[in-house]
Subunit: 596 residues, 2 copies
């Protein structure tokens, strides 16, 4: 039975030929020789994903996790796999060098993370959350907090969590009630209940470092009164050794649709004397700090959409090649493998083309994250950061929505077998379904996209992206090659449609916020589809150059064909979506609440 | 917690004002007074669905079914509910009068079936399969078979099943291997394994009547050598009493993604002396007989798409009204119920508008089924049958694909809670997922639609539908009312797009069958969306007339607003889909099998 093969060829293409990774690139925080490191990292990560993590995905789904005597126990094999994961240094890959990390670029780490997530979605959430906590502590923690926690978190010796949600405070963090009471020794005592805490407790490491949003006494109401605290599962002694058990406990586990091997915990803080915590940064600035984690986490969840799609695609194409059923529609003596049937082929191409577009786009954004941090020119840094800000909700929203569609197609290709849990196709379908919800639903991403990323700078970042797209279009047009004619036409119309939608949103948001916001998710989808078309056009151009330069690698021919498919199957939707955005917002609000 | 409220107002509207049910209509096989009967049936069925079936849906999902000592045991409460169901005469509703049925029209039975399916999808499959078996036996059974089985099946005293699939024969029935060996007494002995047999065994009735496809010795290979047999779980004695156990057994149950309370059985025929069966009709004609069941079953599965969507919608809107989270985007002092947020409203409208379009379309097709059977004019009967034939794959394919999208939106509206199984939104998402697969995948429906229903008569039936749509369009245009302008424009463009696609398919199917077939599912979707637009335009016109005639029922105003939403959010996709169908087929096949 097929499990997972790291798609290293397409990953390398996306890294080098789309996202601009340079083989001997300067790794700002690392002194290692880049070209050797990159190849070794990708190959070793692929091997670890395929050999260690992937085999635990199905068994973890079946076994799930359990809570007994206040302790969460993970599925068989997870603890060992995690120990090997951290011992091999994977956790430290892109972490700061001063705390023991390897300081590799985010671009490379995006590729590696994609593989963890494809191989074992549930497992991958644990290091992902640790990474977010490391990010927040590195940026805003006190020296003492950094010294106490970061080396152990970077090595993966301890894991980290994000504690935001409470029963009454989901998307709306203003409603948070958890209290943090100052203690005479400068620490705080936390009291409250947090829900939906991913990997909130487990048995894979000796300690867990919780980052927790709470309110201090007298803090302002709403989001301006939220502070961030570090609350370890076990207190840490002066000498760094593990001390007494802190008053924070997992009190129950959710029974979920998917990601069964990832414990989703209800966490009780301060059921007894109060959970000991220390303040991160300043009081009432917690939301800002949490967003440092959240933006990284949103990008990472976007990668999950890509990753689950890749895994579902691999499984479906393997099945489609093996399963023989019915004669060919154009005539055949014997039944054929179902990959030969045109509708199955259409589903596979739909998966393949969108996966490659998503990968190219995600890696392009990851590269921009690196440039935004490290480019010597400040104006480049700012421009790259604007691009990252604009695209983060698109990566989160479009990749996860598309990932769900692809996981569903994967199941469909299996026919009746897809509905049987034993087959495994349904696990991707179930696992994928969380990705459009956690770290902010698609609706929340769309609000962020139009309200903060498009309207706030009056469309500047969005129009800069249009310029970049037009540069690619011009390059393709200039070839005057008849094979590109249809792609040029589709991309040109896609870009214009996107531009009309941007103009509409910028022009009407203030005067008619409700009906513009009503189209937010459709705009997010439009921006995703056209960005995907742009990336696939770049991919086709790069491949054409390779072929012209004499390459006989069939990969490039296939990439061009896949790009054609993308432009003919997805870009035609752009004018339709723009029309819905521009004319359809008002009709969302016609029917009054009472009529529902 | 909200469970299920029968949507009787919209059901009545669809029955009377869209599908043309006449209040004092002539019920061909029933002597009952129609107007009183219809109202009583709908209200009582709604009550039974809400009070008896709906409460068992969640518990049935959790408990599932189990097999012990060769006998399948259903979830708690199912047996009692089934007894009440058959005692109350629900099973007999649309069955032939001569076998104890009530002979009510299929149109009315569609409405009633929708309610069973919304309330309890898993339960509803049992009577649905019985109905299919009754249909096949009434049409093709011998007198002895009819006398022996039909009265008990019509009353619901015994249930029926369809046994088609074998491990190597899923979509491809040509590959069936089950053997039927003639016995000296005129019966047959069956040997073979059938899989995916819905309600193949259970403990709700004393007998189960299996209709089984098998091959007689020396039968031609392929589908021309398949015969249909009746194989009861318990043999029936001459006097009609239950005799000895037949050699047919459920040997295992599938663990599925959803519909957990519906047993999906692996059935072993003839593990010992052979399962005793009798031939239905003639040898080697089994496929034709089975299609009599299958077309009814395909329509019924289409209804499941509508039904699960309605149930998911009800749950989501109830949650959206209750859940308070975040301030209004246009400004509010306090957080508001999430139904107030524009994106949540858009999701709810997306659900509502498509549900109403699906219901109107499905009931219109059900009415055509009645006319095709009972209209006095043979040319009307033929025309109505052509419409039914054309639309059956659309009802099956479009309603189920849309039902899946709607169930997913329902989960999305619940946010993180939607991912927790306890909430119940995920059950609809899981249950819905089988509907695009069983009774022929969407791809199979699309092949049937373009190959047999559109191309075979050179587009005649499809173009007749275009004419009907244009009649509605002309009626709306003639009103010269500015409020309809946009709807007229959208519907006109939708119809033209559909026409272009039909022309393309009819014109290119023979010369280029692969690339035309590659767009089959997209064409099915296009035909569904434009048909939905046509139905919603009819709904708007009917509502406008009621308002003009003085009605103050808010339902009609809401219907018009919902129709506007439909035309602005779905019809814009029509030109895009037509473009993909006309230009995108070839690119599906560019990448060779080896490149996957």
């Amino acid at each position: 039975m097929h499990i997972y093969s790291p798609p290293l060829r397409d990953i390398s293409f996306a890294l080098y030929e789309l996202a601009g990774l340079v083989r001997d690139s300067y790794f700002p925080e690392s002194e290692e020789n880049a070209s050797e490191v990159i190849t070794a990292v990708l190959e070793e990560a692929g091997r670890f994903a395929a050999e260690v993590l992937a085999p635990l995905s199905r068994s973890g789904d079946k076994e799930g996790v359990n809570l007994s005597e206040g302790q969460v126990h993970t599925a068989t094999g997870f603890r060992d796999a995690y120990l090997r994961f951290s011992e091999n240094g994977w956790n430290a890959l892109s972490c700061p060098v001063q705390y023991g990390g390897h300081g590799l670029p985010r671009l490379l780490s995006a590729a590696v993370n994609e593989m963890w997530k494809s191989a074992n979605h549930a497992f991958s959430l644990c290091p992902m959350l640790t990474m977010g906590a490391i990010e927040a502590l590195s940026l805003y923690g006190t020296e003492a907090q950094k010294t106490t926690y970061l080396p152990n978190m970077v090595s993966g010796h301890w894991t980290g969590t994000m504690n935001l949600t409470e029963p009454q405070a989901g998307s709306d963090l203003a409603a948070i009630r958890t209290r943090a009471v100052p203690h005479h020794d400068g620490t705080y005592r936390l009291f409250g209940e947090k829900i939906f805490i991913t990997w909130g407790d487990h048995d894979m490491t000796e300690n867990i470092v919780h980052l927790v949003l709470a309110r201090t006494p007298g803090a302002p109401t709403g989001v301006r009164g939220i502070s961030l605290f570090v609350v370890p599962k076990y207190l840490v002694r002066e000498d760094g050794s593990i001390g007494s058990r802190n008053d924070v406990h997992c009190v129950s586990l959710e029974r979920k649709l998917g990601i069964h091997a990832s414990p989703t915990c209800v966490m009780a803080y301060g059921n007894n004397e109060g959970a000991v915590g220390t303040l991160v940064g300043k009081e009432n600035e917690g939301l800002k700090y949490m967003f440092a984690m959240m933006n990284a986490a949103r990008f990472a969840v976007g990668l999950e959409g890509l990753a689950v799609a890749e895994a579902a695609f691999q499984k479906a194409k393997s099945y489609a090649k093996d399963r023989v059923q019915s004669r060919a529609i154009e005539g055949s003596v014997n039944p054929v493998a179902i990959i030969h049937h045109p509708d199955v082929r259409r589903m596979l191409m739909t998966m393949k083309a969108q996966i490659e577009a998503m990968r190219g786009l995600a890696y392009t954004v990851a590269a921009a994250q690196d440039h935004a941090s490290h480019h010597p020119d400040i104006s480049v840094r700012q421009q790259q950061q604007s691009f990252v800000d604009l695209m983060t909700p698109v990566i989160k929203g479009w990749l996860t929505e598309t990932g769900n569609e692809i996981a569903s197609l994967g199941l469909q290709i299996h026919g009746g077998m897809g509905y049987i849990e034993e087959t495994g196709a349904s696990q991707y379908f179930r696992d994928a379904r969380i990705t459009t919800i956690y770290e902010g639903t698609t609706g929340i991403q769309a609000n962020d996209l139009i309200g903060r990323k498009v309207v706030l700078d009056e469309g500047k970042a969005a129009r800069h992206l249009l310029l970049q797209m037009r540069t690619t279009l011009d390059e393709m047009t200039a070839l005057k090659d008849s094979q590109w004619e249809e792609c040029v036409r589709q991309l040109a119309r896609g870009i214009s449609s996107l531009e009309c939608a941007i103009d509409h949103i910028v022009g009407h948001y203030k005067s008619n916020v409700q009906s513009v916001a009503a189209s937010g998710v459709i705009f997010l989808k439009l921006l995703g589809i056209v960005s995907g078309g742009w990336i696939m056009a770049k991919a086709a151009l790069a491949s054409g150059k390779q072929i012209q330069a004499g390459s006989t690698d069939g990969f490039y021919r296939t990439k061009i064909e896949t790009s054609h498919f993308y432009s003919q199957h997805f870009l035609p939707l752009a004018p339709a979506l723009a029309e819905i955005i521009i004319h359809g917002g008002a009709s969302v609000l016609f029917v009054s609440t009472d009529e529902f």
